[in-house]
């Protein structure tokens, strides 16, 4: 804890500032709160502490980049924020609710309704068409088939793939696949987009496409957490949180 370089109050204050700037006088509402978060991985007798006690607060509508070198704990943070993994110690409140109090089915519902994921490796199902991949979150939200189809197509059109409904991932370029993944992340209209190195496997043109989509999503009021190790990418966000060796090293508002 002594190593922490950014006080939680400072982080909260900067978040409040960015939020206030966007929404005028309205009161800032925290979506994400990590308090004293620690994560220790255990494989057999070997233990590794990937998060060494961090505090983060992110308000509704913020566009935050989490930046740091490889192995610094960025993905670990994102997995915790996305309710895909749990903390070893500390607290994670999502929309004011401590996720530790929730069971698997509740967490599934949260991932389904509130969070859209974009992964570095795209994680599309190779046997399904672009449209069917994008439909998946709606399938688990029990949306009727015809509405699912309509919304999946609208999402694909929004990411510029209006002519690729029937193509399977193998028939698409990396940039196109990541755009399908973005369409899948936004089709359920979640309040929050979590992206782990979404441009890590993309060329510069595709990177620009995907980042432009994130700008749009931010403009439409979504909370975005973008994980990257490239400064160029991180600078598209309004706030950059720097991590190193499982600790937060800096938290600054850009632009």
């Amino acid at each position: 804890m002594a190593e922490r370089t950014t006080a939680p109050t400072a982080s909260a204050a900067s978040a409040a500032t960015s939020s206030a700037r966007r929404r005028g006088a309205a009161e800032a509402r925290p979506v994400i709160e990590l308090v004293g978060a620690r994560k220790t991985y255990r494989s057999g007798s070997i233990e590794f502490e990937a998060l060494k006690g961090i505090d983060v607060r992110i308000d509704e509508g913020e566009y935050v980049a989490i930046m740091g070198p490889s192995g610094s704990g960025k993905s670990t943070i994102m997995n915790v924020l996305g309710c895909l993994d749990t903390l070893t110690e500390g607290e994670y409140r999502l929309g004011g609710v401590d996720v530790e109090d929730l069971d698997e089915a509740d967490l599934a519902a949260i991932r389904n309704r509130q969070i859209g994921f974009v992964f570095q490796q795209f994680h599309l199902l190779p046997s399904l068409s672009a449209e069917r991949n994008v439909e998946l979150p709606l399938v688990y939200a029990a949306v009727p088939a015809d509405e699912r189809r309509r919304r999946a197509r609208a999402a694909l059109e929004r990411v510029g793939l209006g002519d690729r409904f029937e193509n399977r991932p193998g028939e698409l370029s990396g940039g196109q696949q990541q755009r399908v993944a973005v369409a899948r992340a936004l089709v359920g209209e979640p309040t929050m987009i979590l992206a782990d190195e979404p441009t890590g496997n993309l060329d510069s043109v595709s990177t620009a496409d995907v980042l432009a989509l994130f700008d749009e999503l931010h403009a439409s009021g979504r909370t975005i957490v973008l994980i990257t190790h490239e400064l160029e990418v991180a600078e598209r966000a309004r706030r950059i949180i720097r991590v190193r060796d499982g600790l937060i090293q800096g938290d600054e508002v850009t632009a």
């Binding site: 895909l84 599934a108 519902a109 991932r111 389904n112 309704r113 994921f117 688990y140 939200a141």
Partner: protein
């Protein structure tokens, strides 16, 4: 996730490994085919037996000369002269000593050559008493049956089975009034029996019947009073064993045999017939039930094995689905339905193979095999249940995977 969507997803998974899926369900296929054959044999045997029983007459006891109960074989001569006589039949007809015997018919059978015009036909000619028709549950197609006055006068009249008539005259109508020569005597055809098919040992339609007294005087080779079979009709099915006991007592008395184990006659009932007919069925049933149980077990383990492979192969997919909001229940359902589809495929293929075998088997074992819709329905239900039972463990494992571990898998 709706059931339709679950089914669609699981079906796609099964189809993506079509060959593997088919190989997986071979065990279930064999098991279900065996179940269908087992049930089919049971029904077929029932059908065969009831056909034989109705061909033979109901509530029937059959008295034959000689004893076949001991390992010493037949006692009392078939060749040297029958131990059963017309006097026995008369004694058995007594309402005092055998009150549960409703009717008695005697039969004295020999093989004879019949001639009609230039046509020769060798068949079994039986001297019978007038009660034969009702005791054997037969009926007359045309003309009349033998009467007691035929018997009293030893008339030279004959009633032909439909097949014997066909062989002698090339037709079964218009033969009444024709003449048939047997052992040098001319007989007038007075009637033709309605067809009855065959029982286990003989063709019931290739026969010629003459009055008992005529057979004794003109066709007899051995002792003229001996008969080959006496048929007893019990008062009801429930009185069959009472009639059996009474008939046995009467015959032991008239034959003057003190020790029942020295009986020179045999009384058999349809119970005996049924047990003979079911012997084949029982052996095959034990065999097939064993095969079915073993195959279904092996098939179920096969399904479990392949489902575990399927879960492992698709760990990343499971992780992704969970990340996108699939609750554990939806994942479990998806894999359970996949296992059920595998089971059902085995069931459907097994039902096809079983039905095909049911078509071919009767020719090989000489017993009917009846494929019933109920057996097929039951089999399909069982095959689905096996898929589900053996799919529970793999599906639960899939449902329990931690989303992040699943996603990280390469």
């Amino acid at each position: 996730m709706s059931w339709l969507e679950t089914f669609r997803t699981s079906w796609a998974a099964v189809r993506s490994h079509a060959l593997r899926s088919v190989l997986t369900v071979v065990g279930i296929l064999i098991g279900i085919a065996a179940v269908i054959l087992t049930v089919g044999l049971g029904l077929g045997t029932q059908k065969d037996v009831s056909a034989q029983i109705s061909a033979l007459g109901s509530n029937l006891l059959i008295v034959s000369p000689g004893s076949t109960t001991s390992s010493s074989g037949v006692r009392g001569g078939f060749g040297t002269g029958s131990t059963l006589t017309i006097a026995d039949a008369v004694a058995l007809a007594s309402h005092v000593s055998a009150p549960d015997v409703k009717a008695v018919a005697a039969e004295k059978t020999s093989s004879q050559s019949l001639t009609a015009g230039s046509t020769n036909w060798t068949t079994s000619v039986s001297g019978v008493t007038p009660s034969w028709l009702s005791v054997r549950s037969r009926s007359i197609e045309v003309g009349r049956f033998l009467t007691s006055s035929d018997d009293a006068q030893s008339s030279d009249v004959v009633v032909l089975g439909s097949e014997a008539a066909q062989e002698l005259f090339g037709r079964t109508v218009g033969v009444v009034g024709q003449t048939v020569t047997v052992a040098g005597t001319s007989f007038e055809v007075v009637g033709v029996l309605a067809p009855a098919g065959s029982d286990s040992s003989s063709n019931l339609d290739d026969v010629a019947l003459v009055p008992m007294s005529t057979a004794q005087t003109q066709l007899s080779t051995g002792a003229s009073s001996s008969v080959s079979t006496v048929y007893l009709e019990a008062a009801s099915a429930g009185r069959l064993s009472a009639a059996y006991q009474e008939a046995r007592a009467v015959l032991l008395t008239t034959h003057g045999i003190a020790d029942a184990s020295g009986a020179d006659f045999t009384i058999s009932s349809q119970d005996a017939l049924v047990s003979t007919a079911t012997a084949v069925y029982r052996t095959l049933t034990v065999l097939l039930t064993g095969i079915a149980a073993l195959s279904l077990l092996v098939g179920g383990i096969g399904v479990m094995n392949i489902m575990l492979v399927s879960v492992t192969e698709r760990t990343r997919e499971i992780g992704l689905r969970k990340a996108l909001g699939a609750p554990p229940g939806a994942i479990r359902r998806q894999f359970l339905v996949e296992a059920a589809i595998l089971g059902l495929s085995g069931g459907v293929l097994g039902a096809l193979v079983g039905s095909l075998a049911a078509l071919l088997l009767p020719a090989a074992i000489g017993s009917s095999v009846v494929v019933s819709p109920a057996a097929i329905g039951l089999s399909l239900g069982v095959s689905v249940a096996i898929g589900i039972v053996f799919g529970v463990y793999p599906a639960t494992r899939a449902a329990r995977l931690a989303p992040i571990d699943a996603l990280r898998t390469e």
